[in-house]
């Protein structure tokens, strides 16, 4: 896949992401129309596909994928379209095979995101009380798995040590918020 697109998703390059989003939007809406997906659902599916391709980019596995960004995006989209069609068919009898769409993209399956447990929902409540920079710091460290050096480079911190101390400051604040609360 085009490495610079994967990099843009990984690094949150808003300009390029916006451009990518715009490039394929109308074509995708047209594509899902062929499957008789309702307009509002199409848009939702397009955004979900974008979210999923970003997740795959973040995990690093897109670099080794041979297909283009567009083919992959539409492949995920197709998977979600099938899912939506199954949902439709629960409400009324609906034949998947009715759609003989010949020009097409290979379907790409994605994992459904797990729901948070009760405790995690509570933690999320406190997490959102952190300042934006702390939320970002913890996201980069733990979800994205960036090293302190990588965070320093990405966010322009002076050194790895500055990241380390800022991170521990954020964790301390989060723990204080939890301790302070009467619920736990």
């Amino acid at each position: 896949m085009e490495h610079h697109y994967v990099d843009a998703l990984k690094q949150g390059d808003e300009k390029l992401i916006k451009e990518l989003y715009g490039n394929y939007r109308n074509e995708f809406l047209f594509f899902s129309k062929k499957y008789n997906i309702a307009g509002a659902d199409s848009l939702d599916i397009y955004q979900e596909s974008f979210l999923a391709i970003r997740k795959h980019a973040l995990s690093g596995k897109l670099y080794d994928v041979n297909s283009s960004f567009k083919t992959y995006l539409f492949g995920i989209g197709k998977h979600l379209i099938y899912k939506k069609l199954k949902e439709y068919s629960k409400n009324q009898s609906y034949e998947l095979q009715v759609h003989k769409v010949d020009f097409d993209y290979e379907e790409i399956s994605i994992d459904a995101t797990g729901n948070l447990t009760k405790e995690q929902e509570l933690l999320r409540h406190y997490f959102k009380q952190l300042g934006k920079s702390c939320q970002q710091m913890l996201t980069l460290s733990f979800y994205r798995g960036l090293t302190n050096e990588e965070i320093a480079t990405l966010k322009g911190y002076e050194s790895e040590a500055v990241v380390r101390s800022q991170k521990s400051r954020c964790l301390k604040t989060l723990k204080d918020l939890i301790k302070k609360s009467p619920q736990i």
Binding site: L43, Q47, Q120, Q129, T139, Y143
Partner: protein
């Protein structure tokens, strides 16, 4: 290898086989270690969900542009906008020529005044002698030197993050800029009603210590936030710095 490094390598997936064995061993045998790792794993799940929400918001924000069919609007406004932009560039470059040297002390003095107490109404009574009330009375009477330890204590006892804002302000008045910067940074780890205002005071502290790039970052954070406080001043100060 200490346990912090092990944890960092674990989450950044840079962990060797040997380290992973050590990690798993600690996880099984050391309850404190396990608790910390479980906490961080929970943060991982939570931040993933929040990260997705943020990204979805970003995508949705692009949609508003399509919804307004703004193409026609753009072309309609393009000419006058270009004219305005050109004028702005001329005005800014003249401004730049006049103000090409920046006097940080003067800027600080022009823009800085300590914040009013917007958090806690003061009760002057014989009975209400809480530490917090005293801190605010002292602050309002401009006894900043005395107010600092009072806020510090009250903050340590209540963990009310807004108090950091006033402690930082007091330090700024007294010219203890480096200490003020530390306090403001700590305040920015929280998200309370005054957090965005702290960007303003932290920016001024950076101006005073001639760290202009950092000052700009803070000013932009304030300007991009929903906070209306000092927004005009922030824009004009940012212009002067740039």
């Amino acid at each position: 290898m200490n346990s912090n490094e092990l944890i960092e390598n674990y989450f950044s997936k840079n962990i060797s086989k040997q380290e992973l064995l050590e990690f798993n061993h600690l996880y099984k045998t050391n309850p404190e270690f396990k608790e910390e790792v479980d906490f961080l794993k929970a943060i991982k799940s939570v931040s993933e969900v929040e990260d997705d929400v943020e990204f979805k918001k970003q995508l949705t924000s692009y949609e508003s542009e399509y919804a307004h069919k703004e193409k026609s609007i753009i072309s309609k406004w393009l000419k006058p906008l270009t004219a305005v932009a050109a004028l702005l560039i001329i005005a800014l470059s003249i401004n730049f020529l006049i103000n090409s040297s920046i006097n940080e002390d003067k800027l600080f003095a022009t823009y800085f005044e300590p914040s009013k107490n917007v958090s806690s109404p003061i009760v002057r009574s014989e009975t209400d002698k809480t530490a917090l009330n005293n801190a605010f009375i002292t602050y309002n009477e401009m006894n900043y030197e005395q107010a600092i330890p009072l806020f510090d204590n009250a903050y340590n006892n209540t963990k009310n993050s807004e108090l950091l804002f006033y402690e930082g302000n007091s330090l700024l008045v007294l010219g203890k800029i480096e200490e003020a910067i530390e306090i403001f940074k700590e305040h920015l780890t929280y998200n309370d009603a005054l957090t965005n205002r702290t960007h303003w005071y932290l920016a001024l502290a950076y101006v005073k210590t001639k760290q202009l790039e950092k000052a700009k970052v803070e000013l932009k954070a304030l300007i991009n936030s929903e906070e209306t406080f000092k927004k005009t001043e922030a824009s004009s100060l940012l212009e002067k710095l740039e």
